[in-house]
Symmetry: D2
Subunit: 327 residues, 4 copies
């Protein structure tokens, strides 16, 4: 039984707290949050104690730390926790600033550093099944890849302002998926972006709609489609075009119910909320963190965070300049 | 090039006339119809001559006759055309009266009699593909069979009155499909029927909703589902449950277009009209009739008509008496 | 927080134990099982104590009892637990013998008796969504109902022998679904059954394949399809044909992954195991039990168990006699 | 009844000949082909006369001309036929050379010139239904567009050599669809291309895999996906992402048959051959040509051919230079 401290008792922190409770090898021992009421609430529901970060890092009984606090604390807290000898599960992104993130390389970048970066989609059962078949060569070798990742509706402008922008906040997941599935690093990036959903997003200097193109050294092509508002739920699809055919993962509907009438057949809506769509992924992520505490290497870590951030910066530059960015 | 006479220039007759025109081996030479204007119209559109049945049967140039006239003329016209040495393509049913139909056995029942009975569904590409895989044992041996056959909307009461009733008019197609796919004759029939769609149908002594059970000597089970009004188009599905899995044929939509919105994903309606849904089947049926003129045996003939009629009578009796009818 | 005792630490008992642990209002306090090792294992995993049934029933701290022991103990344990003032969640069936089950009517049949009978499918989110739309008249009023319920593979013969037979063991769920969805009691039952899957099932006097027909007083028709072996996973589908169209609930696949190749598009298999397919239903069932402890009436109880058993007996008699059974 | 001459009795010419025969307002009067046997064969099957182009153009009885000859004759024949006062249905492309094609502007570019350019997909019932709903604002206003157009297998190298290359030969259809659906002209093009399918295609200077980005003045984004070999049939899909949701048109399968087994559910393959997939479109195109002869304006003409060619050239340049091309 490994004792785990949760840093950040907000929405995603509570999801992780629930998954710690459901994982037999883990026990939530401490909750840290600057908002005392939030920390107390999670603590009460789980039997954990409210604590400070310093106390947690100084406590030899704590084996692992989950960092689900504000984005601008991720890098600092991760570095301190690793220095204190704790295994870390840090929510993405490691940081919004590439230079700063890279500056942590000698403390976080090593193979033996027990750092799991929260790219939750790698743990989604649908995408894992797709990746497994791709890896097994079920339809031959991968040639081109399409990733569709459309949010149901845009976040509040207050969030957009501090999000790092569409490429670092939203597309970052897709860059990680692309790297994972392509099995090669992209060497060229082109991005086209517009503000079509909400002019207010444009006014704070961001975009809400983008199409991103990646090419690898061997000539594999990847297209990523992002929009902040689909109008029809959370659209999360992947198509991997291979030499022998196509492997695809589709959307998840709320139920299998359909109504057939004169106007046609109406299927139930897509799952609308990312916490529902990726509930299984969050669970599997926590299982993996328990595996790591038992000695397994992290499935996705610091280097992956840096690589996705590099692509996000390149995409942003490409969209701004209207030109291909070579890496 | 075989010369073909069409007897009956109504709705289905015109479909057959068009398919004769499109089949390179056939030429429509004559059209016969008691309504002179109808005959003239089809003749004008096809280059055929208007004629009488007697003249057609006496004309040695006519190779084949398509009987698409009123149901109560089918048996008489077929018998006369066969006697005159013509190949016959007769619309179903051969007759509504089993005793009368059976009375023609020595004139129509022989293996060499060139009589094609218009059970169009045997020629539908979807059901043919299902039957071919079933026959090839793609999923093992057949155990149970579900046939769903729901009309979009009930016919006019005037038609219901002369239709022979749901079992002989509508379920008759499904009895033929069941025999074709089961590969064995049913030995027991149970039918339950209600009048749920339109009380006027009940007032003329018919039913509009039925579920029919068939059992073969070896224990295979078949369920047929009929209703005169689906509310969502022409529902024509078959599921063949086999020892190794399921083979199914689904519905055909008008287009592949879908609209995804907040309320879910709306697919286009099912094809609504039987002449659209089975357009390919009618074409294939005519190709088969041309094959017959060139010497091929009929894929479905007199004996099949009798067998389906036997099942329809048994189902009607079962529904009336609330008891299983053994054959 | 309500204290719950689990009677029966087998496969389904462990599922319930896990769901008690995940429900914030419930705490598993005791585990009872004649196999001491089984009881100890569940107790160790959950922090509950190993106990005897007598001790549990005598303990005033215990609010509710989950009866997941052998079928022939259900009625006795339920009666005793109710007598002891405990709320009971009893796995189906209440008993395999209708006369004996009916004999408990005055002790168990009252409206205020806190007895939840484990017809899990009523809690499945797909079927609940279907039922909700049906109840809301989304497609008009219900006319006919098709329930497909096919197991992936037959159980061991040892189980078949004590199962009560296909109608009481397997179709019983579908009888409950039929009653729930029809909104009327069936007044006539017809069943046809065969032994097509495994002759050994026939040798112990059971069948493995059945089609069952129900009719209500108002003329609604229902068809239930059962087989002990589908060959393609756990096939659980419902189609509700209404005056304005169709409401249907489909199967659940393991993932959304598809492979498209020359031979066609291969979708992932259906969920194969009932504990996977109905995992959400078991969770929702436990939530409902917690609601009951807080005062809510049972969604499904003794009277439903009796009614389903009546239909199962009727179906068995109909299949044996080849005749309709009127209720 | 309009008399029609067919120029070019090859594969696509024969399709058009069949559709002329099936269209009641049209009659195929002449067939022209440098290969005498080909012309004779089509003439024999249709009752048309074999003729020369000069004779056809000089014959006042000929109302319309279908140009289905070699690509390098399209522009010349079209210009001559228009000069001779004939309505023209010319297969795409109007020419492979943009400068040469533009040189015909004063003879072919006018609004009154009866020239139908054979962009068959505009007549496909699936894409027409999508376009109709888009035009009606069924899901709000269009924002982004995805077009997938993958051939089943690459053409012979001999064809690749004279095809004009992937962008002018294959993507040209998609450029026309994009313009038709976007309702605005693209102002920027970016294309990335690889030779991943067959090195022999690369050796003759072409590519076999491409992803193309278009942007319109108002910021709408379009992605076109092309490959010469899918491995799973003819993949022709469109997704139109709108302000209120998604409208999509999917693939067409050979039949609706599915086989469900332990490994999952296998649907029938996609229609593999473009003449099958677009058979309805070719028929509708001919109906439209008959409409034009009766006075309707061409749905797609010279200006559309030029505009698509401009995009193809821009895409080729973009792919070669690795840079965005602004129009």
């Amino acid at each position: 039984m490994y004792e785990i401290a949760l840093i950040g008792a907000g929405r995603i922190g509570r999801i992780h707290a629930g998954n710690v409770a459901a994982e037999p090898r883990l026990r939530l021992s401490h909750v840290v949050d600057p908002v005392d009421a939030a920390a107390r609430e999670v603590a009460a529901a789980t039997g954990a104690a409210v604590a400070t970060l310093d106390a947690v890092l100084a406590d030899p009984a704590v084996h692992g730390v989950i960092i689900a606090s504000a984005t601008d604390t991720h890098l600092d807290y991760t570095t301190r926790a690793i220095a204190a000898g704790k295994a870390v599960f840090c929510e993405k992104p490691i940081d919004l600033d590439l230079t700063r993130a890279r500056g942590a390389a000698d403390r976080l970048g090593g193979a033996g550093v027990p750092l799991l970066l929260g790219f939750n989609r790698r743990f989604d059962p649908h995408f894992r099944a797709l990746q497994a078949r791709l890896g097994a060569g079920a339809m031959g070798s991968l040639e081109t890849l399409h990733i569709i990742s459309h949010d149901p509706a845009p976040p509040p402008i207050a969030y957009v302002k501090v999000s790092g922008g569409l490429f670092k906040d939203m597309a970052i997941h897709d860059f990680d998926m692309a790297r994972w599935l392509l099995g090669e690093e992209p060497v060229a990036v082109f991005a086209a972006a517009s503000c079509l959903v909400d002019p207010a997003i444009g006014e704070v200097g961001d975009v809400d709609t983008a199409r991103i193109f990646l090419r690898t050294a061997s000539g594999k092509l990847c297209v990523i489609s992002n929009t902040r508002r689909s109008g029809y739920g959370y659209d999360q699809r992947i198509e991997a075009f291979c030499s022998g055919g196509l492997i695809r993962a589709g959307n998840v509907r709320e139920t299998t119910v359909e109504c057939w009438g004169e106007a046609g057949a109406a299927a139930d809506p897509l799952q609308n909320f990312f916490l529902d769509r990726y509930a299984d992924a969050y669970r599997a992520e926590m299982t993996h963190f328990a595996d790591m505490l038992a000695g397994a290497p992290a499935a996705v870590g610091y280097a992956d965070g840096i690589a996705a951030l590099v692509l996000a910066e390149a995409a942003g530059r490409s969209a701004a300049e209207g030109a291909v960015v070579t890496l």
